[in-house]
Symmetry: C2
């Protein structure tokens, strides 16, 4: 391993102080002179034809400056899957039909939020209600109500993966089992509700400040829905308080803010309420997973046949990606010589599901890992041994899909076995005590180009100055995960500078280099990191040239940027300060500043991702026999994220994942009735609190990922997956209750 100065160190978040002191500026903090406040009118019914909308009374309310319905808009559909326009099924405001309770029907902009809210009540909408469907099985049934005419069977997307020979595989299996699992919807529950502020200048160009994970995607889709040119739109991402996948699409309030700013000539801001977020916001896909696996007697995996219905709700959103990924994740972790997957994305009259931390993995791996635990028991093999027997290793491939270029999975399994004292604890027969394991693999960004971008997947511009500083510009988006810190670290390390030597400008589509696809699928560290390395390499070439000339170095000398200097490797006396080297290059070029642009697009690594992370987690639980309440006592985690860029940041990701995993396993649930989400406050929607967090031990299994910057790959998103199956297995170990339908509630345990 290289001897790094900044990589691998506990570097505090670059935005830590401003967040802790409240100085950070989130979108809702921005106030512009003359700004109007927007509110959305949402459908109170789950499925209906809109007969008429009367906005005349609302328009007459003093203080109301603008009221719009879908009819006022250019009526252009959008969706993230630009590659297949047929999947683009949403209008910013409903045209003709509403498809879920909360579907956006009209928007108001007024001088204050109360007036806007009052105006909403003055809008009369006449609905012709239609039959509804809220369940995937009901939805795919013949004669079910059709939600989109383009999908008469309510299945919008089919995705298949198949290799080996599935029939032959099962025929050769000694032990086959088939299970059906269901998983529920949960909310990303980011602490910053969505907010957007748009301004239209007198040339008609729009600037949108918005709480988003994907400024570039919002720029492009906003332009197309407004029927404008992409570069007449500028999207700026202020500080963002979490996204977890829920803020990676164009959203109606972004469109409405921009559209009404253009109409009124005044800035227009929308800020969603927590109730709107919980009852209508994007959520993790509920799924119905039928999984059949076959083993040899000795535990060798032979075949797997996986069918998944994704409950997509009323629109596709990121569903097409989840539909593919849950099948990909079903084939990960272990070697399946014969594999078949069919994923089907099903419309229902519910708020759309979309990407959420894990992007198909938590669901798919809950099923796969639970089933692995069930098989281990029946085969009479220790679950860790069974996993190690079948575990993927570096160099494995999934035909036509993926190449595993680094894999610390077996090491992770061995590590949690040791940490958790697995053998002893698994043998304990204390009442209510249980220990269980779950594992994961995840992507480090996607190769699939569903957005059909014309640009490289990530870009970085680096300027260096004679005062010894550098300016890093990137469209990559820190949404709280710490991307800015990690990217600054990578550049600082590459240029031999200190963190404070680097100024960062990020996520402004007009000022940062085209493009970056945004923050999702754990792509930023690897992709933006590689783009930065590319830019730094170009800069170092020019600095090395200048220093070579200055010291008349033989061409075979290796040079380095280190400790604020540019010097011959191992001969620091043949070197000069970084800023001096910059000045020398500038003199050589008659003053021209040193600017480099670096790019990264993954190629040659299969269909899915340039790199996979791996890990294993063991949960110890105590289950109260009388109440059925599960208390997680301790979590042991070992995970392979390649080179650790920032241990403190990885630890934060790990803790956040466990927190989310706990909620997914035990307490969080969007309770719905007839299409209406009942859990509409954080009092009802049971996020775990800090008090619920168990102590934990963790270890990073460091591998070197050849495709990653400095060998790094994904950390933290994959970890959203193992917690639920580990807890489920521990609960089973403690109580004999086997959960196949998340969440694991006291009622279910007691009812067993």
């Amino acid at each position: 391993m290289e001897n790094y100065n900044i990589i691998g160190k506990d570097i505090p978040r670059v935005d830590g102080r401003e967040k802790a002191t409240g100085a950070a500026i989130y979108t809702d903090d921005i106030k512009l002179p003359g700004m109007l406040y927007g509110k959305l009118l949402r459908s109170p019914v789950a499925h209906a034809r809109i007969r008429s909308i009367d906005i005349s009374k609302a328009k007459r309310l003093p203080g109301v400056k603008c009221v719009i319905t879908g009819e006022d808009t250019p009526k252009i559909k959008y969706g993230n899957w630009r590659l297949f326009p047929i999947t683009q099924d949403e209008y910013p405001l409903a045209i003709d039909k509403v498809r879920f309770i909360g579907d956006e029907v009209a928007a108001v902009a007024a001088v204050d939020p109360d007036t806007a809210a009052q105006a909403l009540e003055l809008i009369d909408v006449e609905y012709e209600e239609l039959p509804t469907v809220f369940d995937v099985l009901a939805s795919v049934r013949k004669n079910a109500p059709v939600i989109h005419d383009t999908s008469p069977n309510n299945i919008s997307v089919d995705r298949k993966i198949e290799y080996g020979n599935i029939r032959k595989g099962f025929a050769e299996s000694d032990y086959v089992r088939e299970d059906i699992f269901t998983v529920h919807a949960v909310s990303p529950a980011y602490l910053e509700p969505c907010a957007s502020l748009a301004q239209c200048d007198q040339e008609g160009r729009i600037t949108l400040w918005t709480s988003t994970q994907t400024p570039y995607i919002v720029q492009c889709l906003l332009a197309s829905t407004l029927d404008m040119r992409e570069n007449d739109i500028r999207v700026i991402k202020p500080t963002v308080g979490g996204g977890f996948g829920g803020k990676m699409e164009l959203r109606p309030w972004e469109f409405c803010a921009a559209f009404m700013a253009r109409l009124t000539g005044k800035p227009v801001k929308f800020t969603l309420t927590r109730e709107e977020e919980l009852t209508t916001g994007r959520r993790r896909h509920p799924m119905r997973l039928k999984s059949k696996v076959g083993f040899k007697k000795d535990g060798t995996l032979v075949a797997k046949d996986l069918h998944i219905y994704l409950d997509g709700g009323a629109y596709n959103a990121m569903g097409p990606t989840a539909t593919f990924l849950c099948g990909n994740f079903g084939a990960m972790l272990y070697r399946y010589p014969n594999y078949r997957f069919l994923g089907q994305h099903v419309y229902t009259n519910k708020p759309p599901a979309s990407a959420m931390r894990g992007f198909g993995a938590p669901q798919s791996l809950f099923a796969a890992e639970s089933q692995m635990n069930m098989a281990a028991e029946e085969l009479g093999i220790d679950p860790i041994d069974l996993r190690i027997k079948n575990a993927m290793v570096t160099g494995d491939t999934i035909p036509d899909v993926a190449t595993i270029s680094s894999c610390g999975f077996i090491e992770s399994l061995e590590a949690v076995r040791k940490m958790s004292n697995w053998k002893r604890n698994r043998g304990r027969k204390k009442k209510g005590y249980g220990i269980g394991i779950g594992c994961y693999s995840f992507i480090s960004g996607g190769v699939f180009n569903w957005f059909n971008t014309q640009y490289p997947f990530s870009a970085a511009e680096v300027k260096v100055f004679s005062d010894g500083t550098a300016h890093l510009l990137t469209m990559a988006s820190d949404i709280g995960q710490g991307a800015n810190t990690v990217l600054q670290q990578i550049l600082a390390e590459e240029l031999g500078l200190k963190m404070e030597d680097i100024r960062l400008t990020a996520a402004d589509t007009a000022m940062t280099p085209q493009a970056d696809l945004g923050t999702w699928g754990s792509r930023v560290t690897l992709m933006a990191g590689n783009a930065i390395k590319d830019a730094a390499r170009q800069i170092k070439e020019t600095l090395f040239g200048a220093v070579s000339a200055r010291f008349n170095l033989n061409v075979i000398f290796d040079l380095e940027c280190k400790d604020g200097r540019v010097q011959a490797k191992g001969k620091p006396d043949r070197g000069i300060p970084f800023g001096e080297a910059v000045a020398m290059v500038q003199k050589t070029n008659r003053g021209i500043p040193i600017v480099a642009r670096g790019y990264y697009t993954p190629r040659g690594k299969g269909l899915v991702t340039p790199a996979f992370s791996f890990g294993a987690q063991v949960a110890e639980v105590g289950v109260d026999a009388e109440t059925g309440v599960v208390q997680v006592k301790k979590m042991y985690t070992a995970h392979d994220c390649g080179t650790v860029i920032n241990p403190m940041a990885v630890e934060g990701q790990l803790e956040g994942s466990i927190h989310m995993g706990l909620g997914y396993a035990l307490s969080e649930e969007l309770v719905m009735k007839d299409g209406k989400t009942l859990t509409n406050t954080f009092l009802d929607y049971k996020l775990p609190t800090a008090m619920d967090m168990p102590p934990g031990e963790s270890v990073c299994i460091e591998t070197y990922e050849p495709e990653g910057p400095m060998g790094a790959k994904e950390a933290g998103e994959g970890l959203a997956s193992p917690t639920a199956p580990a807890i489920a297995e521990a609960v089973y170990h403690a109580t004999g209750y086997r959960c196949k339908d998340l969440p694991i509630t006291p009622e279910k345990i007691l009812k067993r």
Copy 2:
């Protein structure tokens, strides 16, 4: 002349609408949360040692958040002449001494402007008054009070120009005359008083929004006075309401805003009052000019010996440049085979003079042109004929100083002769009627690198997009002169796009390319224009390549960007839309966006400027015999600004110049008593009003300047010079009163 689509057309100002509607954001319009308001304590005495400053009472005033004196600061001097650090003679706040009434002594930041003003009154300063001097002749006298210890004779800068043989020249002259002229101080009187707002982020980096002509200069000097790194400072120029040379340096309020923002952690804003502007602000240099010229009997100029004392006030400011330029302008317009110049910049206890529209030319040319008129009379030659006889022409040089690569001077003289019906009107003997001529030449930006920049003089970044748009980034500063419009025109023409296809980002030192020296000396159109052309050339090369390949064009084909297309010249069917060509190039480069950076630094054109403008102006006046009041009846102007980029913009410059020239000649004056400026409001300081503006006729003599973009050079700043001598000559023609000491007041005319 090329067949242009946009160049040479009346294109409305790109910021015209937002200015007319009040939507434009000036610095003082910006409000940040928690912002403090700053005020400066200024010296009430003209020359004193500071014995002590007691700020304790001011600090205790509720609402006061920060009080500083020079002692609190890093005590680092600044000045625009970085090339000669000895000339850098100003501290942001006085250290030890004050040198003029208004010198900045302390600064306060408080929660509102009234509290800040009240706090100023609570600061006790004990001054030990020193002898004062307010006049250049008194100041250079032996035993005069010494204002700066570094200049014991009060002369801070000597500049010389000499060529030919001055003694021999005068010996060979048939007619020699020597005159002494004095010119007075006038205020730039920009309508937007100076304002600055600074914010310090939690990493200690500073952003300064400021009303400036020179963001890059402010960035550099602010960094050095704060003892910070250049790139830890970001300077942004919002809309600016005029500068005219008065906003091209670092100013104390910029330093204080930044310094106190860093101390308090809160944004700090300073906005000057009109009174501060008029009584302490930068002003045009008063000068005492002794000029001796020698002619042959036939009018041929033989020799000129020019000595100028510049009254610099208390500090150098831009004085060193003016000291050189007034000598250069003394040698312009006509062929002086033998020339000698000595300029001396003299300190006095008055507010510093600095650059103001014309930068040494209005003073020098008032003397030169008046003397030319006087000589014409005595030689019995028509003043226009005398000028034509000696006029510079294309190809003339001033040895070691300048090369005239385009010159429409004779054409200008012939044009005004014709327009004004000179012969007839000059012969008219109507009482109180007069007609007179004045001429000018001016620079199109400076070659002299007094700021000692490490960067090219001007830079442009151009990004082009597949949606058919382009983004132009430049640090060039529109301060009301219309630079943004002209630069957008140049890029639009080069790329064959429309004005609205171009987004412009300007004058933000962190985001626009390093560097641009700012707006002064009429440098922007030529220098930034050339940088843009350089960038556009690179972009066109790549687009032309793609289109050549697409249509399999023979390499000898010439291509063009025109009408939104990239096509073979003369064969528009062999071409594709601009955006498609961009997309093709991107595909060729696997998505990499097209970005080009262009630069310009003048070289090989002498010491002064890459290009000189020329022109002539005739004034017709009526002088009331009883009151002595001069009314300008009509102005005729012919000027050579090379290719006219935007006739409407040139017309605006011309009108503005005449307006300023009228004020300089007739009414504006900073009246002072014992170092105190008495004209402290616009009621007292007599700017001409719209009612005073005479009708005018004008013509552009189009030449092609090889060094200018599309052949363009300076327009509008040079025109600040001819108006005063033309009016003075017309008044002489009408009354026999020969003004050698501006302004021309009724009192002087009547007293004659």
